[in-house]
């Protein structure tokens, strides 16, 4: 022990001297250079990102692609634990659910009968109109590997990208309807902007009157409807579907139902829960994304603005204005 003491003391003093300042900026020029270079890189990346430069998108998508396997692993392992908790909780409320489901089953039988009736009627109408079936597009099923919730964004990362046939602008569907669209498509992963994200704006048709409107995310659970025509006859439960205007999403995709609040605020109860979807379907319809072929793509926010402006320009066209003037309830004819 005594023989070891001088050696350990020497080692301690050497270590203390070495540790002093370890991890922080070294006094040497090299360390200053490294910190300066890294801060410079941060500033450069920030500048590229706020100017919506393409290289910033590429960098972000490359990082997301690289992190995708790790995200899958982390999400998978933690999801298993969460599933156990959910299962235990489910057992507790099972008995109440059974009673409720029995009552619901009775009413659903009636709905089923009506649905069959309507299906047969729709088939007859389609035959009458000689409708052509939807030709384009294919559906890619993908798994949501990261649910990036924060107070500021509502987005998903899915484990499918350009190699699977996904392209920017593709519609992303949950079990029952639209939940978002692809805003960045990497090689093996893509980022999906959910419809309830603050930056999401989607042109839609509302109700049987097919009133044009913009589905706007608010970062709350349910998005709202903007720019409804004055006096539009919108009721609780009216269906909301994409209109296809703005050339971002194909028309006719179910979004949800109108919900009119006590204070008159109009929101949309989404058909599919955008934040609870583990598996999603990406619908690549081949719908045009860019307005002019060969033209450089607009930066994200400008493209969004152009989409909205385009939809608004259509909704206030002179013919429509004349039509709305004639209609007493403000409802406009379907074009």
């Amino acid at each position: 022990m005594l023989r070891n003491r001088p050696k350990s003391l020497r080692r301690w003093s050497r270590g203390a001297a070495a540790r002093r300042g370890s991890g922080g900026p070294r006094k040497g020029g090299l360390a200053v250079g490294i910190y300066t270079a890294l801060f410079g890189a941060s500033a450069l990346l920030f500048a590229l990102d706020i100017t919506d430069h393409r290289s910033a998108h590429v960098t972000r998508q490359a990082i997301t692609d690289a992190a995708a396997p790790a995200l899958t692993a982390v999400t998978g392992s933690v999801s298993t634990v969460r599933a156990w908790f959910d299962e235990a909780r489910g057992l507790v409320i099972l008995s109440r659910e059974v009673e409720r489901l029995r009552a619901e089953n009775d009413s659903l039988r009636e709905f089923e009968r009506q649905a069959h009736e309507l299906e047969a009627r729709a088939a007859r109408y389609e035959a009458l109109l000689r409708l052509q079936p939807d030709d384009g597009g294919h559906v890619i099923t993908a798994r949501a590997i990261a649910d990036l919730k924060s107070p500021f964004t509502r987005s998903l990362i899915i484990n499918a990208g350009e190699s699977d046939g996904i392209a920017q602008g593709n519609a992303v569907l949950g079990a029952e309807g639209l939940i978002g669209r692809v805003i960045e498509a990497g090689v093996n992963s893509s980022r999906v902007l959910l419809v309830n994200d603050l930056e999401s704006r989607i042109p839609v048709h509302v109700g049987v009157g097919r009133h044009r409107s913009i589905l706007a995310g608010t970062n709350a659970y349910e998005p709202t409807l903007m720019h409804l025509p004055p006096g539009a006859n919108v009721h609780d439960g009216d269906t909301v579907a994409t209109s296809g205007e703005g050339q971002i999403l194909p028309p006719g995709l179910a979004v949800g139902q109108v919900r009119v609040g006590d204070n008159g605020a109009v929101s949309v109860a989404l058909a599919s829960d955008p934040e609870g979807s583990e598996f999603v379907r990406v619908y690549n319809s081949g719908f045009p994304v860019d307005v002019a072929a060969g033209a450089p793509p607009l930066p994200g926010i400008l493209a969004e603005a152009a989409t909205i402006a385009d939809a608004l320009a259509v909704s206030i066209s002179p013919a429509d204005a004349a039509g709305s003037g004639e209609a007493s309830d403000g409802a406009r004819p379907v074009p």
Binding site: G15, Y35, I63, A70, I157
Partner: protein, 179 residues
Amino acid sequence: MRARPDIVDARPPVVGSPMALVVTLAAALVSVLAPGLIGADARFVAHLALAPLFMTAIGERDRIGPVGAFATGLVVDALTAAPLGVCAAAYLAFYGVAGREAASLRDVPLILRWLFYLPLAGAVVGIHIAAMVLQSGGGLSRPQLVASLIATGLAYPVLSCLCELRRLGRARGTRPARS
């Protein structure tokens, strides 16, 4: 696992221990995913990666290096849809400031190290939130802000205690038996 001074100093200053980098990046991924995994209504911004970053900066663990700190911040930026470079610069500054005080912090009790960690981590959270508010135009309610600060603030003492328990367990396991 405790940092060995002779090895620490022999490493190049740019890149530190790969293991420390992996742990920090894993913490960053968990912190990005945490709100989604906890529940649909959980809305907060947790920076759990600051805890391992702080530990490596003050020499409590193997060093991660400024490039590691920068890379971790960049990953957080990319995955949280924050403007690129904001968290990268904040994490780098956090690492640098903590590293500067490494010599004075290493031998003080955990509570004092925590008191040093809290304002630094709070500043990083504040910078991130401010950048997100400016970018997205959204807001953060007071409970969300408090939850973000608590999650980030508690990360260091929890991780430090876990590491200390693990170290004690190992030391007990490797103690030579008396003959």
